[in-house]
């Protein structure tokens, strides 16, 4: 029995040595007496703290700790362990050379048979690396929160069950819905009632079946405003905690729509400016156009008064002629004013309609023929079928023609040989209108600039430089084109407009 006990003891000592060897590979250990002084330390602790065995003996345990941990040890740890309670937690240490390191430590009180504490065992693992990873993580998390709250895009996060758990500041600002209202499925109530079911269905399909979606829908804000968003949502499997979450990103489209509105408004202003400019250029001619008939009206009216005063019934025929003349003249004025009104109107939202080329020309000439005539410019029109039609917005086409005629006027006004010729070609699917003037060819280097906005050869103050660019935009809008005929001996613009609605397949 003695031999086997010896064997056991020998084995036990061997086992303890082995254990000690293993512990020394990864843990700091120390023994502390009830006064808080170190009475033993293992090789790992000595190595990491930089002290010798004799240096450390009977030194206070706190001399291994940082100032902060030392205070914490005195106030929070010591009162527990002296009562026989085990303490676990993290401590920060300062080595002899000033290097700081962290440990995750356990301090176990050892009790005697009378349940009195006799000493403490300290065992700890170094966790400096983990602490720096934690700091980096905290930094990342701070950065993420900061970023999220400043991102101009709505961000929405839901847990595994599809319940909202996070929204960023932009989301709150866009929707007017706070986190409290958005939690779980509360956010659905913030969506416009007409869109709610559609969004709910898509969301449930994402949560239940993992179908990502991209949708445009509206929020109805508490202040009554409606906000359009473009949302894309997807399922994300987080690698860190193996949980599935759902992320939705929402782009506020109101801004895009308002910038579209702004562009439209600016376009309308430009068109109006260009129109008013041509109108200004035509004003003299128009005044003449209206003055002439007015003079006739005055003359005839005076004549009638004179005849009536004379009471001569035989002058009845003359009276009739005068009255007829007044009627036709007023009609002429009315027609000019109609054309003016038609020209001045904003026509960008008008529907496209089959429009008679003849009536289009009549309207245009009504406004400018007089001006050409008064400047001695020969304005002629080639023949074409009376019933020829193009598919257009007549007000816009009106402006195109007026613009081109105005340019032609300006180009030939100072020449000796002044003429402008309009001709119309029926090309089956298209109609081409040629505006040719007696001016010389436009220099090659100007060809490209010609259709750019604000390009003008006219003196500053007369003309906006927008006429051709707008005319070209209108022609393209109609599915046609406007270009300079570079082959022609004279200046010739060609405006090509379709006769029928464009088949949508052709436009692609």
């Amino acid at each position: 029995m003695g031999a086997s006990l010896n064997m056991f003891r020998k084995d036990e000592i061997h086992r303890l040595r082995e254990l000690q060897y293993v512990v020394n590979q990864f843990a700091l250990t120390a023994v502390i007496d009830t006064s808080g002084l170190l009475i033993d330390a293992n090789s790992f602790l000595l190595r990491i703290s930089g002290y010798d065995e004799k240096d450390i003996f009977k030194k206070p345990f706190q001399s291994l700790l940082s100032a902060e941990s030392s205070l914490f040890f005195m106030n929070s740890v010591l009162p527990k362990i002296v009562r026989g309670l085990t303490w676990k937690g993290e401590l920060s240490h300062v080595a002899r050379n000033g290097y700081t390191y962290w440990t995750e430590a356990t301090i176990v009180p050892i009790l005697d048979s009378k349940r009195e504490v006799t000493h403490f065992h300290f065992m700890a693992c170094e966790i400096s690396e983990r602490k720096s990873v934690e700091r980096a993580l905290a930094n990342n998390s701070y950065f993420f929160t900061h970023l999220m709250d400043r991102a101009p895009i709505g961000f929405f996060l839901a847990n595994t069950a599809g319940e909202c758990t996070y929204i960023n500041r932009a989301w709150i600002e866009t929707t007017g819905c706070r986190l409290r209202g958005a939690l779980a499925s509360g956010w659905l109530l913030a969506i416009h009632p007409d869109d709610r079911n559609r969004v709910k269905e898509a969301w449930l399909k994402l949560v239940d079946e993992g179908h990502a979606f991209k949708l445009e829908y509206r929020y109805l804000r508490p202040d009554g405003k409606i906000v359009w968003v473009l949302a894309s949502a997807e399922r994300v499997d987080f690698p860190s905690d193996l949980k599935t979450r759902f992320i939705r990103v929402e782009k506020d489209l109101t801004e895009r729509q308002s910038s579209e509105a702004l562009i439209n408004e600016q376009r309308a202003q430009m068109v109006a400016a260009s129109k008013m400019s041509s109108l200004g250029e035509m004003a003299g001619g128009i005044a003449h156009e209206i003055n002439n008939p007015l003079a006739i009206l005055q003359l005839r009216a005076r004549q009638i008064v004179h005849l009536m005063k004379g009471g001569d019934a035989s002058k009845e025929d003359q009276l009739l002629v005068a009255a007829e003349n007044i009627r036709s003249t007023t009609e002429r004025i009315a027609s000019i004013i109609r054309s003016l009104k038609a020209f001045a109107r904003e026509g960008h939202s008008d529907p496209f309609l089959p429009t008679s080329v003849k009536s289009l020309f009549e309207n245009t000439l009504e406004l400018c023929a007089a001006r050409f005539k008064s400047h001695g410019i020969d304005l002629t029109i080639g023949s074409f079928a009376d019933d020829l039609e193009i598919y257009c917005r007549s007000v816009e086409m009106f402006q195109v023609l007026m613009s081109l005629l105005n340019n032609a006027f300006g180009a030939v006004d100072n020449l000796d040989d002044k003429w402008v010729h309009l001709s119309v070609w029926d090309l089956g699917e298209f109609v081409e209108i040629w505006i040719t003037d007696s001016g010389p060819k436009i220099p090659l280097e100007l060809h490209e600039k010609l259709f750019q906005p604000f390009f003008t050869t006219k003196p500053v103050g007369s003309g906006t430089g927008l006429g051709l660019s707008i005319a070209k935009a209108v022609a393209l809008d109609h599915g046609g084109d406007l270009y300079l005929d570079t082959v022609s001996e004279n200046t010739r613009f060609v405006c090509r407009i379709p006769k029928k609605p464009m088949d949508s397949a052709d436009t692609l």
Binding site: L85, K88, E90, N159, T165, L179, R180, A184, D241
Partner: protein, 266 residues
């Protein structure tokens, strides 16, 4: 960053006033189930789990942050800030009563009134103060817990519930305790039972209702009286309910006391 997920925050009920319900040691928000029907018709209820409990994010548990009750109080303030509760009525059970009080001291703008169910600022006797346990008793209890959490839970849960006439409630609490992660439960127990916040309750001046049970082994009547005398605007309401968890064992009586207090003071 995701506080809602961290604390498994839920909002239910309808009403202009928000009641923030904070569960006590070893439980989670499900402990309020019996009393919720009594309150949710008239109040908005904010429910959550402390980190380390229930469906909270256990990976966020850190011994240093939750080494004192201030760690939990900071979480509560963050929840109230995030959800823009200005102010709410705080209802805390047991250790959460003190957590709510610490939060209200730090961020009073989020709290208008406090209702403390079976609160205790210090569980052990010291001088004239009768906490209910000797310090040695607490240490022994914690040591027992350290060596075997589950047997501790089986022994202690029925005592905490304190309803020998309804043993099923004690069993229910045992099941809840046994569902906890032992390492966290042991640490939270140390933090709870060794805490001493008597100086924090001195001159506390938000309107407070203290609901004191009879035969409460954890927070005896002497503790309720101490609190009422220490605080400036505290009312002490004695419940007929026995034990330490009246919201579980006597939800109707508890809810009635809460409603009466809120109706009277509003």
């Amino acid at each position: 960053m995701n506080i809602i997920e961290r604390n498994n925050v839920k909002i239910r009920g309808a009403g202009k006033q928000t009641l923030i319900l904070a569960h006590g040691y070893g439980c989670d928000q499900n402990i309020w189930q019996r009393i919720i029907p009594e309150l949710e018709e008239n109040y908005e209820l904010l429910l959550f789990d402390h980190v380390g409990a229930g469906q909270s994010d256990l990976s966020r548990y850190s011994r240093s942050k939750y080494g004192t009750l201030h760690g939990y109080a900071d979480d509560l303030i963050e929840i109230a800030q995030r959800l823009e509760i200005r102010p709410g009525i705080f209802i805390g059970h047991s250790v959460s009563a003190i957590i709510g009080l610490l939060a209200a001291l730090k961020a009073p703008e989020h709290f208008s009134k406090l209702i403390l169910i079976a609160p205790s600022p210090c569980y052990y006797n010291e001088g004239d103060y009768e906490g209910g346990f000797s310090y040695q008793d607490i240490c022994e209890m914690l040591k027992g817990m350290e060596s075997n959490y589950e047997s501790w839970a089986r022994a202690m849960a029925p005592v905490i519930m304190g309803t020998p006439d309804k043993p099923e409630l004690g069993e229910e609490l045992t099941r809840i305790f046994c569902g906890n992660k032992p390492e966290i439960a042991k640490h939270f127990a140390q933090v709870t039972f060794l805490s001493d916040h008597r100086h924090d309750v001195q001159d506390f001046d938000l309107p407070t209702l203290i609901l004191q049970c009879t035969e409460d082994k954890i927070a005896p009547e002497s503790v309720g009286r101490f609190l009422q005398q220490s605080m400036r605007k505290a009312e002490l309401h004695m419940l007929k309910a026995q034990g330490h968890c009246p919201h579980v064992s006597a939800p109707m009586e508890t809810a009635a006391a809460i409603r009466k207090y809120l109706n009277k003071s509003s």
